[in-house]
Amino acid sequence: MAQALEVGEKAEAGSREVVLSVRNLNVEYRAQRGVVKAVRDVSLDVYKGEILFLVGESGSGKSTLGYAVMNILPSPGYIRSGDIVYYVGGREVHILKLSQEEQRRFRWKHVAMVFQSALNALNPTLRIWDQLYDTIRAHDHHISREKAFEKAKYLLEMVRLEPERILRSYPHQLSGGQRQRVVIAMALLLDPEILILDEPTTALDILTQKNIIELLKGIREKLGLTMIFITHDLSLAAELADRVAVMYAGKIVELADVYTIFYRPKHPYTYALIKTIPKLSSVEEKLYPIPGSPPDMINLPPGCKFHPRCPYATTRCAREEPRWERVADGHFVLCHRWRELSLGE
Amino acid sequence: MPEPILELRHVSKAFRVGAGFLGPKKLAKAVDDVSFELYERDTLALVGESGCGKTTTGKIAAGLYKPTEGEVLYKGKNIWRMSREEWREYRRNVQIIHQDPYASLNPMLTIYASLSAPLFRHKIVESKEEAVDKVAELLEMVGLTPPEDFIWKYPHQLSGGQRQRVVIARAMSLNPKIIVADEPVSMIDVSMRLQILHLMKELQEKFGVAYIFITHDLATGRYFASDGRTAVMYLGSIVEYGPTNEVILNPQHPYTKALLSAIPEPDPEKTRKKQPMKLRSLDVPSLLHIPSGCKFHPRCPFYKPGLCDAKKPSLIDLGGGHRVACWLYGE
C-alpha cells in the first residue's frame, strides 16, 4: 500500500522543501530461519531543517530504515525494492542507482551518520586528530592540512570540546559523552545537509544525554541541518522532535508533528505506548500494560501486524492490512478504525 | 516501629584497580558508607546514573559481594558472621534478578533444568514428577501459560520478556523474603515493561516479597516504589533518601534536582518547558579521582568554597523520613 504522495501534499506542507524522499522501500535480512522483512513498503518525505524522529521498539525496522537510507546496510541485509531520492545541492540524486564509488563520495558529503556506540565509529589506535584528518582527506583529497585543522577546530568548539586537548587524545582517554560529541563533530566534517543519528544517547548518563540534546538543538539552529533521529525512547522525541514517525513491525503506523502524536494520537499503538510509559511527575496517572509481544518478523501475522495486541481489533483488522490514510494536514495513520476510535478523549 | 528485615550499616566496598604490573594500585570505592533499612513487603528503589554504585550495593545486600567495611544485617544478625544454619536461611530468603535476560539463564540447560535445580537442592521436591508439577506451577505463576510450551525449551528459544519471567520464577522458587532486582526491565522492550513490573508487584502482594529495585530510570523507579522509599546515589554514596514521592516531587539535593530536570518526559509541552539545571562542570568524575568533601561539589551550582570541598556532609533528617546529604541544610 503506497503512501499517497501527490503534488497536492507538498503544497499542503507549505513551502517546505523536501530533502529526502523514500518511496516504497522494502528491506530484508536473510536469517537462518528464513527472511526477515525488516522494512515493508515504507514511504516517507523528510523536510529541510526538520528534526524527524523514527521511534519504535526492537524489530520495528527503525535502525534498518536509517541504514538503508544511506545504503550502508550490514551484510545479511539488502534492499529488495524501492527508491531513495535525495534533493541536495540543487540536484536530484537516486542513491541506489549510483555506482559504489559515487555512493561513497555522496555519503558523508551530503548525508552522515552518528552511530549508536561511539566506540564503533572511533578507531581506538588512532588519535582523534588523525581520524578527523583521515576522514576529511578521504572525501576531499585537495584540502590542505591547515584548512582541515581549522575545520576540525571549528566543529569541536561547536560541540563544546577543547580542540587542543581532544585532538591529541586517544578515544579511550575521553569520557563517553566526549566521545559521542567527537563522533557528532566527525559526522559534520564535510558539511552534510542531513544527519542521521542512531540511538546516540542510549549508552550515556542522564545528565550527559541532556547535554547532547541541547547541543543538537544548537547545531540545528546554527547549521540549518536536517536530522533524522532514531530511538526507542519516546520521551526523547517529546524533547527534541518536530515530527515523529512511529514504527511497528516494519511499517510507519503513524506520522505527525510531535504535539499531535502525544496529545491527539490516532493509532492504538501510539496511544498505548504513551499510556505505558511511567511518568516522572504525574503521581496518580494510571498506566496500562500492552498485552502480548512484538511479532515474529519472519512469520508475521496476517492483516494489521498490531491486531493481536490491539484492544480495538476487529475481524477486518485480522484479515486486511490497513492503508495509509490522511487524518489531517501532515498527520497520517495506518489503521482501519481511526475514525471511529476516540483515543483518550 | 517494626524491625527491618535487612539492614546495611555504613557499608563500603573498595576495589583495587591496578595500573599495570609495576604501577601503584589505587583503591576505588565503588560503595562509600551506605546505610539503609528494608522492611517486610517493602520496596526500596536505588536510583542513580551508571557508576554510582547501586548495582554493587544491591549485590552486597544480596550477599554476593563482601563489603570491605560495615555490616549487612539480616534479621538483626551480621550475615558474614552467621552460623551455617543462619546463613542457609539468609541465602534462601534473599534472591537476585539480573538485568540481561540473555545472560541470566544457562544456555545449556532447559527451562525445566534451570528451574528444578533449586527445588531439588532445597528438598522442596523429591521426585521428577513432583518437580515437573512444581515447575509448571511456577511458570503459570509468572504468566507463562501453557507451561508445556516452555518447560522443555532452551533459553534461546524464548523471547527476552519470556526469559525475564523465567528468571523471576526462578527467584521466587524458594519463596524468598527479599528480591534484589537489578534493572529488571532495562533490556526489555518498552511495550512489555509494564507487564513485568505489574507481575513483580503482584508477586509482592501475594507472597509478601520485599524489593530492592535498582534502576537508572527515575520514572520507572518512582512508579515501582511509589509506596516505598527511594535512595538517590552518586559516586558510591546516598545523597538523598526518603519516601519515593517526597524525593521525586520535592527533591532537596542539588544532584537530585539536576537529574530530575534533565530527564525527558513523554509530554512535549511539559518537557520543553523544563529548565535544565546549569552545572558548574560537564565532566563526570571517575571513581579513581573522587572529589574531596562533598563528591558533587565540582558540578554543584550551590557550591560553597571552603565548606563543600572540605567536609563530606552526612545524611540530615528533614522530617518525615526524608534525608539529604548537603551543606545547604545545615550541619
Partner: protein
Amino acid sequence: MSVKHRRRKSKARRALESYLIVPLKVIVRNKAGLFGFIGIIIYVLMATVGPMVVPLDNQPKPNQMYLPPSWQHPLGTDSEGRDIFSQIVHGSRDVLFVAFLAGVITVVIATLLGTVAGFKGGLVDATIMAVDDILLTIPQFPLLSVLSAVMRLDNLLLATIIGVLSWPALARAIRSQVLSVKSRDFIEAARALDLGTRHIVFVEIMPNLMSYVVVSLIFAMTGAIYAQVGLVFLGLVPFQSQNWGVMINLAWTRGAIFFKNSIWYILSPIVAIAGFQLSAIMFSRALEEIFNPRLREG
C-alpha cells in the same frame, strides 16, 4: 496437571533420546558432520575389525614388487611385493590406539586442572598455571627423541608421554573458558540459590565447556598421530613394518616416489592419515552442534 503426557516417557527412553537419537539427528542433518562421522566409523572398523578380516601379507615376494592397484591388491604392493592394503589395515590399530589414548589423557588432565584453576582461583590457580608454564617450555619432539633412545617406548608409554606433554596448552584454554563462564549472571544466580559448588561446576559450568572439550579431543588425537608418526618416520621408535610411519619411512628410503606404480606405497599411509584428520575435523562440526543447543535449528 496437564504436563502428564511428557511424564509417560520413562527415564530410560528419555536418556536414549538425548544421548543417542538427538545426536544422530544432528549428525545426519549436518552434511559435513555426517561425512566425518562415516569416515570415523570406517577407521574405527578398520582398526578394530579390520585386522581380523584382512590377513596380513608378510611374505616378501620380489617378483610382485610395486604392482599397481588391482582386485587382489586394492592399493598395490610395496617394494617387497607385499600387499599395501593389508598393511594399512593392520597398521591402523597402533596408530589409532595411541592417538585415542593420548587424546583422552590430554583432555582429561587438561579439563580437570583447567577447571580447578579457573574455578578456584587464587593460590591453586597460580600453582597450576606455574606448572603449566614450565611444561609448556619443554619441547615435545626432542624430549620424545631423547626418551626413545633411553628406553623402549611401546604404544602405551608413547601414548602416555604424548598425552602428558600435550595437556598444558589445552588446560590454559579451558581455564579461560571457565573464567568467562564463571562471570556470567546465571552463575551468580546459582550462588544466590545456594546450589552448591558441585552443582555449579558440573551442571552449570561443565556443559558450557563440553563442546569445546569434545572438539579439543579430536584435535588432540590428530596431534598425537603426528607426534607418533613423526617419531616412527625418524626411526626413533621400534616398529613393525606395517605401522604407517614406518611405511612412509620405507617408501621414502626405497625411492617409492620415483615410479608411477610405486607411488601408491608412499601415498597410502599419507592419505590414510590425512583421511582420518579430515573425518575427525568434519565430525567435530557436528559435535559442536550436539553439545551446544543454540547452534541447532533453534
